[in-house]
């Protein structure tokens, strides 16, 4: 599949943008509302520490290229972050205007305004320096998602040679395949990949560990950065899971983003995270008459962001609390319903989180023609599992946080495979920190 095929044309109308772009006048008015805080809390709150007041003031002065470069300097995926970041809990959430009974600055939309200008201007990034000692240094970034892209871009900016290995037809990871279409289109993710490529990063489609042996990479490259993401979605572990009409949330999202795809008429989504919400909303937009989301705890414990939950209610997704599936019901090899059992919450345990227990004799059946489990992704680092001195904990790679360095000094890691699944901006921050740590180590090595 070529990038020209994306987005799927029908998705353009089925998934109109959640937050329309600002026009010039409103961007100026909003930019001028910014107080230009010193040591701004928004900048501190951003995992990549974008200098927010600086880029906003550049919008106010009409220096849009300078604004965009300020963003991209800190965060090479400034475009996708402007669209997918949960700004309510990051930059905008920390805006001092909250404390003055005023609307926080719309930082996300202003960032998008600057990014849109940058990408439509056709003028790329300044050329990377041709470095001295570092040009002989080669780094392999394994995985083509945000963490690897950010790591690769930062390394190139410091003159290193970088190759990104990705096993998918298109790079970009979940930005290309897994983000709700009304937030970010795959074409925008691919523009960012092209931007990284324009810096001189090489992309190779290959399954590391299969087509490419990890030993060969170790020989060819000075360092390996692991931006592997997570594994497949967790399975429900109940009968009927492999029936037709059962599709996990990530596959569901990938399928509608890459092909003409219709949801069922009555859809059941199982789970209470942001991905469950994305899938439920998408099912509504893909034609489902009813979408029912079941979660075994309650609204209070649901891990999804509250703004995502609020949005989902607007999409008319119906929520059912305190129920867990025990079997998917079949007819002619197709899912036709789910048998649930009611649950209740136990008192909070040592971790502070309330666990659930099933209520005896409380089973009920719920008819549907599509089931979308969304229980989160499994932790994956299969080919490296407990080998090569890389330490794991709970399925996640253990790193030194400030540097991203693993137990094996040749390996660095970042993104979902380290943090268990967070935001694009967290992956970018990880990738950037790891790149800077590698560069610093090279500098120390060169000096000694």
């Amino acid at each position: 599949m070529g990038s020209a095929a994306l987005p799927v044309p029908r998705n353009l109308e089925r998934f109109p943008e959640l937050h329309p772009a600002l026009d010039t006048q409103s961007a100026l008015a909003e930019a001028n509302r910014c107080l230009f805080c010193f040591d701004a809390p928004c900048t501190a709150a951003c995992p990549t520490h974008i200098d927010v007041p600086r880029f906003i003031k550049k919008i106010a002065t009409g220096n849009l290229r300078g604004s965009a470069l300020t963003i991209l300097d800190a965060n090479i995926l400034g475009l996708s972050c402007s669209r997918v970041c949960p700004v309510d809990v990051l930059c905008e959430g920390s805006c001092v205007l909250h404390r003055y009974n005023k609307k926080p600055i719309e930082i996300g939309r202003l960032q998008r305004y600057a990014m849109d200008h940058f990408y439509s201007s056709g003028v790329g990034l300044p050329a990377c320096p041709v470095s001295d000692v570092k040009t002989n240094i080669k780094v392999a970034c394994v995985g083509g998602g945000p963490a690897s892209l950010a790591c690769a871009a930062e390394l190139r900016r410091h003159g290193c040679a970088v190759t990104v290995f990705d096993n998918r037809p298109l790079p970009g990871g979940l930005n290309t395949y897994g983000v709700a279409e009304y937030k970010l289109r795959p074409s925008d993710s691919l523009r960012e990949v092209d931007l990284v490529r324009s810096l001189g990063v090489e992309f190779r489609r290959a399954e590391v560990g299969a087509a490419v042996a990890i030993e060969d990479l170790e020989k060819e490259f000075s360092f390996l950065f692991l931006g592997l993401g997570l594994g497949a979605m967790e399975r429900l572990g109940i009968p009927g899971e492999d029936l037709r009409g059962v599709v996990d949330a990530l596959h569901f999202i990938e399928r509608y983003k890459t092909s003409e795809f219709d949801a069922g008429r009555r859809v059941v989504v199982i789970g209470g995270g942001n991905t469950a919400i994305d899938a439920a909303n998408a099912a509504r937009r893909l034609g489902a008459g009813e979408v029912h989301l079941f979660y075994r705890r309650t609204e209070k414990e649901m891990p999804a962001f509250s703004f995502e939950y609020a949005h989902s209610k607007v999409e008319d997704v119906q929520f059912h609390w305190l129920a867990q599936p025990v079997e998917i019901l079949a007819e002619d090899g197709r899912a036709v319903g789910v048998r649930f059992q009611e649950t209740r919450l136990r008192e909070p345990g040592a971790g502070g989180r309330r666990t659930v227990e099933p209520v005896p004799d409380s089973h009920f059946e719920f008819a549907c023609d599509m089931v979308i489990p969304a229980l989160g992704q499994s932790r994956l680092a299969g080919m490296l599992q407990a080998t090569r001195g890389i330490e794991f904990e709970g399925g996640s790679i253990v790193v030194d946080r400030p540097t991203g360095r693993t137990g094996n000094p040749k390996y660095y890691a970042g993104g979902d495979c380290v943090n268990g699944g967070r935001e694009v901006v967290d992956a970018v921050a990880d990738g950037k920190r790891a790149a800077l740590a590698m560069v610093q180590r090279l500098a120390v090595g060169a000096a000694s």
């Binding site: 107080l35 040591d39 809390p41 709150a45 967290d426 921050a429």
Partner: protein, 448 residues
Amino acid sequence: MADLTTTFAGGIRCPNPFWLASGPPTNCGEQVMRAFDAGWGGAVWKTIGEPILNVSSRYSSVDWNGQRMMGLNNIELISDRPIDVNLREITEVKKRYPKHAVVASLMVDSKRETWHDIVRRSEEAGADGLELNFGCPHGMSERGMGSAVGQVPKYTRLITEWVKEVARTPVLVKLTPNITDIRMVARAARHGGADGLSAINTINSITGIDLDTLTPRPNVGGVSAHGGYCGPAVKPIALHLVQQIASDPEVGLPISGIGGIAGWREAAEFMLLGCGTVQVCTAAMHYGYRIVEDMIDGLSNWMDEKGFRTIEDFRGRTLPKITEWKHLDLNYKIVARIDARKCIGCELCYVACWDGAHQCIHLDGHTAPAAVEAASRARIVTTPIAKLDAVEAWDGKTPPTRVPRIDEAACVGCNLCWLVCPVEGCITMEPIDTGKAPETWEQRCQTH
């Protein structure tokens, strides 16, 4: 209830002191009558003289922080309508609005007979007074009129004398600010017999340059000429010049205040510096005649609140409070105080004091601004997952580490922090008892 009726310069009566200044809003009788219907107490007619030709593209402005027309510049000349037509319309307006003030602004060649002629005809038409336009700084000044007269005290006096030889109504001289010491011209007008002064006319200006075409504004076929500046931006300059002539014992004439007046507050300020009436042009051009409603209403309410029955009750009250620097008390001391409960943590006071003042506002734990920012940027931040991560919560309060501390012993009381603080009442400047008797610079020079 406040009484706004005014008698100005020995005989110009009007229902309130709000006049439209000579300019586009008073170009013809139809406009002036609508203005009177809206509530204006008087109008100074667009300057009458031998009809001129205008260019197209006549105005340009300075926008500030997303607000339009902080300052306005024009290169329009005096009336382009025949003298007869203007005078006939003055007659008509006076017939229909006998209680309103109509002042004829005049500008003709610097010949005695010509001035005698226009003065007689204007008064025969029914004008309540005359305003000699010795202030227009563009176009007409190249022809020896306008500010070319007003910049030379000798000419100002001479022409005022010619006018006074025949005038029966009060004669106002409109002063240009484009001069080193406005008192010289004001005194000359006085010696020439003027009954009052209007101040200020517009300030020489070039508002800006189009950075795409490198052409100055307003663009007249690719070039421009300097114009006259007015609007909110000029108010402080106008207030100073008005104070200069109002405090000068050699002048001692009634003043009609002009320059950046857009509402009752500015009007009150000009009156507190001695003005008996005020004139408005830019604000009426921006928003229309309707603005006078709040000028009347606001001034009346303020006067009621203050216990002023007539304008004479407060006119000039602030003049004694404006003195020379050498008479200021060197032992008067104020210091800044921050109300931590109101502080929103923008730290604008901190950086302003460090970079623009005396380095006496501190963030504890840091030595200088660069260290503050470096500490924030070094922090590793991760997007919080709702309900799972313990988020640093201040319940909408400013984290104590972001509230700056003022070193009162070092504070010089310059006001800068108070001026930049976006929160009302957060920073206050409070008097400190120095235990020393008041002493001015002049006194100190005499005693030491």
